[in-house]
Each structure stands twice: as C-alpha cells, then as structure tokens.
C-alpha cells in the first residue's frame, strides 16, 4: 500500500530555536533522524539516528565539537555522516558512514528532505515567508497530533468547521452558510471565501476594535505536500476589502506546515502573524496562546477521527461540496507519491 506522503519534498522538522548544538531525535516520514546545529557555523544538520556499527540511536550519544559520538563504542561521525573515529584501531574503515540528509533553514523553520538528495532543491521549500518578514509580526508552536497528517490538511482546507468546533471564538454561522470558490494548479489548491456585511465573530471584533458589520475573508492556499497558508481578516463592511483595499481592516495569516511522523501521527507546526500593531509583543504572545487554545479544540476532533478510522480500516470517506479543497490537496499529494514509485527517466526539474 502506498505511503500517504511523498519523500521527495521539504518537511519542517522544528522551529529555528528548537535546533541547538545538542542532539535532537525526531521521526520524519517514518525515518528516525537526529538533528543538531554545528557550533562552527550555526548550520543545522540531519543524520540517520542509527550508528553504522550496531544501530544504537546516535541521539543516545553525545556531541564532540561538531561530530556525533555513538554512546555505545564511541564511533564518531561528522555532520556529513563520514566516520572520523573508531576505537582500538589506527585506521578508519572506509565504508563506515551514516546517511546525512539535506537540510535548509527558511521562514523560521528547519526543513529536511527525506527522499533522493539529488532532487533536494532549496527553491522548493514551501512559501511561508510571512513567518520571517518585517511586514508581519507573530509567533507559533508545534503540536504533536496523534493522527495522519492528511486529517490536519482536511481540517485546514475547509474552515466550515469553525462555526461548530470554534463557535466561541473565530466561528459563527456566516462561515457555514457562505459560498466559496475552489481553484487548483499543478502543486497548489486554493479555497476562497468572502463573507459580506456580517456580524464579526468575537475574536475578530476584538482585533478590529471598531463597531459594526464587517466584510470577512478566508483565502486558504495549499502547497503540496503539506503546507497551508491562510490569509484571514476583516474590514469594516463596505470599505473596499473585496475590491482589494484592506487598509481599514486587519489582516492575519495562519501559517501551517504539517510533517508526517508516522502514518498515524504528525508534527503540526503553526504560526499566527499579523500586519497590525506589529510592535506589541504582548499581543504576539496573547494571540499565540489564544490560537493554541483554539487548535486544542481541533486536536481533540482529529485524534477521535483517527481512532475511528482505525476502527473502520476499509472505509473510504463520503465527500461533500465543502471537501473540494481537501480532495484537491489529497489528489496533488497522491500524484507526488505515484511519481516516486515509477522509474525516474530524468533528474530533478
């Protein structure tokens, strides 16, 4: 049975601050890897978390300078996976190495490419530039969710659930009643919803800080295999936001990149950034913690859903009109997976 995720893609491992000059084990796409930052130049690196000799996880060893020293017999490997020390002999076995994986740091995340290293093109890191941009301020966290990563994508591709899961904060009936447009490309799918002249839900009323009805937007942009940037906000009704003028309103981005850990668990990295009151650190912290509470509501739903899926192993979902975006996301991912199982006729594009 095909994996639910492609290997030839960049996946976010951790936030920039989580990767330090110490061994961080993390499972990415069913591969046990170990990450650390070199002291020499601050670059993050990734190795298979298994010693060449007897498979002890290297993460149970220690760092010596920028080399990893295995905790069992002291065999050492440099950050490119070449062996630099073997005990009780004067030479080093020429075949001794562990696999190193391409790593790139961008948009405040450390990304790894679990697939064919020859195809690892840094230009293909998913676009989350808002996370590291002077025009936007914000912060985020990582959630470890006990569900297949595609369920998180489904959850984000259709925000109808806001009216029902997050009714006390970001949802109200307007979301579940509003029509939407879905478009798709070769690697992306977008779901756009505009709600005109509606009562804003409590969260957005607070952010806008102005009375009266609003025009509200949600533009969900999926980039295969696992990144979703959601352009959200409100502006006072009739001030021109649907026509392109958002200057009277407030604009945020919910940034999400979901990395498969196994077929039934994932690392869900998210951030909320904004273009208003950017210099208020207090607001950054409050919004981050507020969104964390909202996502906890989703986490409970997703983990219950995963258990139900495991209880019904042959079941294929029924789909509704609201699932169009999620279905496109899954189709684009399936295409990436299918391309990997076919013989490659040429190198990277």
């Amino acid at each position: 049975m095909a994996a639910s995720f492609p290997l030839n893609a960049w996946y976010a491992v951790a936030w920039d601050h989580e990767v330090r000059h110490e061994l961080l084990p993390r499972t990415i796409c069913d591969k046990k890897l170990v990450f650390y930052r070199r002291a020499a130049d601050g670059c993050a690196v990734a190795l298979d978390d298994a010693c060449w000799h007897r498979l002890l996880p290297l993460s149970k060893g220690r760092l010596n300078g920028d080399d990893v020293v295995c905790g069992y017999h002291g065999i050492a490997f440099d950050s490119r996976g070449r062996c630099t020390f073997m005990p009780s002999q004067e030479t080093i076995n020429p075949g001794a190495c562990v696999r190193a994986y391409p790593v790139v740091e961008r948009h405040r995340f450390v990304w790894v490419w679990p697939g064919d290293p020859a195809l690892a093109d840094p230009a293909r890191v998913p676009d989350l530039h808002w996370n590291h941009d002077p025009a936007w301020a914000g912060d985020g966290k990582t959630i470890h969710v006990k569900c297949n990563y595609r369920l998180v994508l489904d959850n984000l591709m259709d925000l109808t659930h806001e009216a029902f899961v997050h009714g006390s904060s970001i949802g109200n009936h307007a979301v579940a009643e509003a029509p939407f447009d879905t478009t798709h490309g070769e690697r992306t799918a977008t779901v756009t919803r505009w709600m005109h002249d509606i009562e804003p839900p409590p969260f957005w009323r607070g952010q806008l800080g102005k009375p009266g009805n609003v025009d509200r937007w949600q533009i969900i942009r999926f980039e295969a295999p696992a990144t979703i940037a959601i352009d959200v906000g409100v502006a006072p009704a009739g001030t021109g936001a649907p026509e392109g003028d958002r200057s009277q309103g407030v604009n945020g981005y919910v940034l999400n990149t979901i990395t498969p850990e196994t077929e039934s668990t994932c690392h869900y990295h998210w951030a909320f950034v904004r273009n208003y009151r950017r210099d208020e650190q207090r607001l950054t912290t409050e919004l981050r913690d507020g969104v964390a509470r909202i996502f906890r509501e989703d986490e409970l739903i997703l983990e219950a859903q995963q258990k139900a899926i495991e209880d019904h192993p042959d079941h294929v979902f029924y789909n509704l009109n609201i699932d169009a975006g999620a279905m496109w996301a899954r189709r684009l991912i399936d295409r990436m997976v299918a391309a990997e199982t076919q013989p490659r006729l040429q190198a990277a594009e």
Binding site: T183, G185, E186, D314, H315, N319, N321
Partner: protein, 326 residues
Amino acid sequence: MRGTTSWLDATVRATRDLTPSIREIEIVPDGLSPTWLPGSHVEVAVDVDGRADTRCYSLVGEPDGSCFRIAVKREQPSRGGSRYMWSLAPPARLRVTEPRNLFELELGRAEYLLVAGGIGITPILGMALALARRGARVRMLYACRSRGEAAYLPELTTALGDRLAFFDGSRGERIDLGTEMAALAADAQVYLCGPLRLLDACRGLWTASGRRPSELRYETFANSGRHAPEPFWLRLPGRDAEISVPADKTALDALAEAGIEVMADCRRGECGLCMVDVIGLTGEIDHRDVFLSEHQKQANTKLCTCVSRVVGGGATVDTGYRSDAI
C-alpha cells in the same frame, strides 16, 4: 460509491426479460448466501468499450438466499453500463460488491406512500412486499410509459391489491401528486424512485406543503433529465479547442478524456463536487442533479458535470484550474 467496499466474484445464473426493455439478472456470488434489506443496491464492475467502470443496481424484491436479483433497463443511448449488462448470459463471471443501503425503509411507521416511475420500481418492489407482509398501512403509485413496460406488475397486484394504483402513460394517466399527498397523515412517510421529472415534482410539492423534508425519501439513478440527451460542446476560457460531449457520455468523462481535470465523487448528481462555473451558455442547461436548489438551477451559473447536460448548443465553463507555472 464510498463506504466499505467488499468485492465478490460471482456468476450470472439466469436472465429473464420482464419487458422488451427491462431484463432481470440473477447473480450468484461465490461462497455467500445473499441477503439484503429493502432499498439496498450492489455495485457491479462493468466494461465500457474496454474501460473498467462500475454501475449501481438496486436489489429487486425480497431475498431467497440463492442469488442477488437486479433488473436493468436497456438505455437508449446507453453510456455503456446497460449495454454491458445486457451482453451477459449464463454462466458469465462478474464482480459485484456486498449490498449497501442508502435507501433504508424505516419500519413501524403509521402510514406509507410508495411512488415508483419506470425502472424506479427496482428498489420500491422490495419495500412494497415487506410492508404488505407486515400488514402496514401502505398505498403505492406506479407510473410507466405503458402497461407493457411495467415490470413486476403482477407481483405488486398480488401483494397490494387495491392499495396499488397503476398509471399507464400511453393512455394519458398521470399521478395526481397534489391530491395523493394531501390525503396523507401528517407523519406519513413517502419513498420515491423514478425519473427526474417525477422526483422534482414530488420534492417541489412536498416542500410547498410544509412537511418535514426528512419524511420524503428518494433514490436517484441520475440517468434522466428534462430533455433527451443530445451532443453538446464545452469550451474553456483561454483554450481554442472545443470539447464535444456525445449523447452517450457525461461532460465529466468528456473533459477527463480531453485532459481536463474536474473533481468528482458520487457520480450521481448528489454531492456537488463535480460542479463547474458556467460563464457562457448557448441553449439550455438540463440539470440532472439533486445537489443544486431550484433557485440555483434557474440561475444557470453552475453545472454538475457528472450528470447534467446542455441542449441546443453548449457552454463555456471554468473548472477552477489556475496554472502554478510562473
């Protein structure tokens, strides 16, 4: 179709022409004693001009444990499913799923009205037999183009007697839905299967009467519309070439064959996922789905490509494709 799908190997045991255009087929699955509840259907693997596809068929009547029983109308023009099924003769082998039921009969209600039009009799027959056997208060309306095209009329007459009203279209007999519905108790349930015109008429009257929508239950075979199928064209913005949709092919399939992807799921006009935006129209859209509301159908800004068609010309449609290429 979705849900848990278990495919079985099976053999065609017998065929029997109930009318010149309706053939009953008995299918014996390997190693399984078939049983089903009224309203159930099976999915059958068919071969349409060398392409593998599936079709759903209602299970007819009540099970006797020896076989699945379906009845297939020879469609003109056929999209290939009925043509394939009519090509089968014993002891042909085929693959069929275990029964699934999206049209369950709720037992123990005070009053029932069953309405069947044409081949729509196939899921309704079993309901009529079950309700008659249980002594339920039931009335049935059965409309066909002619008496000669009415499958299972003798069985229904035996089971229901004067609780069955038959309407022969060739003699101008029509169901008076308004009167029939008005005569029903407030909590009566209606089960309905038939061509789109009958479906739309019933649903319209039911909604207008203020009765609860959940008490009108129906199943759509999604192969009928207001107009006979005819070829039409589709154009896409930014593309010169026209796509021809022949009378025996769906817009969805024609687009797929032209390399244009449209999302789809139920392929029966129920889920709305195959909908495209209509940005230009010559002629009239024959909406054959049950997803769009009457209001949306009249607006003619959307078309469900898995079932709906255009008569008198064609349409320019936007499938939502936006190239990522920079």
